[in-house]
């Protein structure tokens, strides 16, 4: 009996220890920094890096160039360089550029220069996808997963090289490639002049189709003022108070202006969209770009395309975000 008891006890102990070890390993896996989890083993794993959602608060390349420190994880936005050497042959590496630093106009895609020399060094970053030992994967990325010259890419990665001036190399942890990029230069650095508040413009009642407008407002007007995967959002004027401007308010979503009537919300709002050459709304998120979120103050420049039925829709050509 003692032998049997010993055997049973020993077995149970061994199983318990094994369970604890496995659990610990799993637990460690959970708490391991994201960077380690993102290392891919092969080319087939590259797609696991691609995320459907646009990461918020992405830095432009030039801003990241100045602030990035080696070892930290940052998110940058840029476009794949419009040059023949944008992608390294047979390696998972490409050049990401800040188009706003381009000297001169962008080239048509069938006459690409050999190098992206019209983008200064402080507007260029290198992105690589590495394997478990830190070497770039041995496969090209051109044409893969939506990556091509000119494509807009959001990269979250670990800074491998950064000199604070003109060198930035990132090892990608995750990437987001919008299905349609925003036009280059959509976001401007300088506040447009003569911006009118949305409420004022609506109250005047003079907005009509074809009018060029410069409107200032805050993102809001419903529980979800952005549309996932589409470049469209609602802008509210200052004529109405957001819920959190009321004393003692405890709304969890103050941007829905639930304290106001639906008619008032409609009369103090415009819908802003960014369209392509065919007039179709671009298939990309707006939330997260340049820190845009609910109740963000935005100034848009564009054209009124619809002013019937109580609602106004503006095709935006540029926008300024008050950060």
């Amino acid at each position: 009996m003692k032998t049997a008891k010993t055997v049973v006890t020993g077995t149970v102990r061994a199983m318990a220890i094994a369970t604890m070890l496995l659990g610990g390993a799993a637990g460690l896996g959970v708490f391991t920094p994201t960077a380690a989890m993102a290392q891919v083993k092969s080319v087939a794993d590259v797609k696991t890096l691609l995320k459907p959602d646009l990461p918020a608060n992405a830095l432009e390349i030039t801003a990241a160039m100045k602030s990035a420190k080696v070892g930290e994880t940052i998110t940058v936005r840029g476009n794949v360089a419009m040059s023949k050497d944008a992608f390294v042959e047979n390696r998972s590496m490409f050049t990401l550029v800040d188009e706003s630093t381009r000297k001169g106009c962008c080239p048509p895609s069938d006459t690409l220069p050999d190098t992206a020399c019209d983008i200064p060094a402080e507007g260029r970053a290198t992105v690589q996808i590495v394997d478990a030992v830190g070497r770039p994967l041995r496969a090209g990325l051109n044409g893969q997963h939506g990556l091509k010259q000119g494509a807009e890419v959001f990269v979250t990665g670990k800074v491998e090289t950064a000199n604070g001036n003109d060198a930035l190399v990132l090892t990608a942890v995750s990437m987001h490639v919008p299905k349609a990029p925003l036009p280059s230069g959509f976001f401007v650095e300088k506040l447009p002049e003569t911006a009118k508040d949305v409420s004022g413009a609506r109250m005047a009642g003079t907005l009509k189709v074809g009018d060029e407008v410069v409107l200032r407002g805050r993102v809001g007007g419903s529980k979800e003022p952005f549309v996932a995967g589409r470049a469209v959002f609602t802008l509210m004027g200052r004529g109405l108070k957001a819920c959190n401007e009321n004393p003692d308010d405890q709304c969890s979503k103050p941007w829905d202006y639930c304290c106001e009537t639906k008619e008032d919300i409609l009369a103090n709002s415009v819908t802003v969209q960014v369209v392509d050459a065919k007039g179709q709304i671009l298939r990309t998120d707006m939330k997260g770009r340049r820190g845009m979120k609910e109740l963000s103050e935005i100034v848009v420049v564009g054209t009124v395309v619809s002013a019937g039925g109580g609602g106004v829709v503006v095709n935006a050509t540029t926008a300024y975000t008050a950060q």
Partner: protein, 387 residues
């Protein structure tokens, strides 16, 4: 049944086979838990759907409609209803519910005119304010007085905002009401709800009228008079006593609860089987012992009663545990079944507790009868020969 001096003997028998007793008690407790849960449901349905002699409330609804979204009556009907003989008061009520189907977590808004709630004979006079105040409710147009059950279920506190059915309100107070329907709703201002509900009729349209009559005996008569008044209108009415209306609108719930009666009987059968099983096993183990007792002078009748007492004790103890847990769960769980904006509260009462104990003890007695009778009838010699 047995003299008090034999009670320790019975207890010792249970204590001797602790594992068996615990298992039996646990099984009985679980079965009684389910049985009592079913009973509280039945009780809730009875209280919500059976018209009592003193009831004086009628509900005037749109004919052939039960879902609040589908019932739209012009608010001006109230003046004509109040002129009908026998009617003491008629209150227009707008109801918005997030879903008409039956479930456990439904939010119902009831919009009533301010003066009907806070007036000297207003509804609020019958309520107990657990938190907040009616004065706070009066200050804001989007404020709500939330029933205790709903507030507990959703964790609402005074000052908190919540939204349901596309309507956002702020909790001004939490109420406790003797009426089952009030416990699970949020009372808001009528005009606020009419506007907030948007296209659902808007201002001037309500879901129902709650009518109070002067004489309970004349309820049917007044109901018919009201329906006759609007029979030829574009929106004819259907008037019935409030509880009868709940029974009809909540027919699905009533049917489900009726079906659970079978579950309740099944649980009692399970208690019987468990206790009988335990007693039989116990008796089998003690055949020789019973023979010894008989040799010492214990009458067969006493032995039989000792065994029956064992059954009663197991039943009663298990029943007490199961009933206690069931009533606690019901009390703290704040459950209620809702349908069509009406709710049937599941609540505990002392009578259910007492009945539960009596029934479980009774079943225990019944379970012990046959083994006890058989044990008492055995011959001493044959018992000694048994292995």
């Amino acid at each position: 049944m047995i003299a008090p001096k034999f009670v320790p003997v019975v207890v010792k028998q249970l204590w001797r086979h602790r594992v068996r007793s615990v298992l039996t008690l646990s099984g009985v407790a679980i079965a009684m838990f389910l049985f009592i849960a079913v009973q509280t449901l039945q009780e809730g349905v009875r209280r919500s759907t059976q018209t009592a002699a003193g009831d004086t409330r009628l509900v005037v609804y749109r004919e052939n409609r039960f879902c609040p979204a589908a019932s739209r009556l012009p608010q001006f009907y109230v003046d004509r209803i109040e002129k009908i003989p026998g009617v003491v008061s008629a209150v227009p009520v707008k109801i918005v519910v997030n879903n008409c189907r039956a479930s456990l977590d439904v939010v119902t808004f009831r919009g009533v005119p301010r003066e009907e709630l806070v007036g000297p004979r207003g509804w609020a006079t019958k309520w107990q304010l657990i938190a907040g105040s009616v004065a706070e409710w009066e200050k804001r147009s989007d404020s709500a007085l939330v029933g205790e059950t709903l507030a507990a279920r959703r964790g609402f506190q005074v000052g908190q905002s919540f939204d349901a059915s596309g309507i956002t309100v702020t909790v001004a107070g939490i109420i406790r009401s003797p009426e089952a329907q009030d416990q699970n709703v949020a009372y808001v201002h009528l005009d606020f709800l009419q506007q907030a509900a948007g296209k659902g009729g808007g201002l001037g349209s309500v879901t129902q009228f709650t009518v109070r009559v002067d004489d309970p005996a004349k309820m049917e008569q007044v109901a018919e008079a009201i329906d006759a008044e609007f029979r030829t209108e574009a929106d004819p009415t259907m008037t019935s006593p409030e509880k009868a209306f709940v029974a009809q609108a909540g027919a699905d719930i009533v049917e489900i609860v009726k079906f659970t009666q079978w579950l309740g009987w099944g649980c009692l059968a399970a208690v019987l089987a468990l206790v009988a099983n335990a007693i039989v096993l116990s008796v089998q183990d003690r055949i020789k012992e019973h023979a010894v007792l008989q040799t010492l002078g214990f009458r067969s009748g006493l032995i039989a009663r000792l065994i029956v007492s064992e059954g009663m004790l197991i039943g009663a103890l298990g029943g007490a545990i199961g009933t206690g847990i069931a009533l606690s769960v019901v009390h703290f769980g704040n459950f209620s079944l809702s349908q069509e904006g009406l709710s049937i509260g599941v609540s505990a009462s002392w009578s259910v507790l007492v009945w539960g104990l009596i029934i479980s003890a009774g079943v225990g007695i019944v379970a012990g009868l046959v083994p006890g009778w058989r044990a008492g009838r055995r011959e001493i010699a044959s018992c000694f020969r048994a292995v």
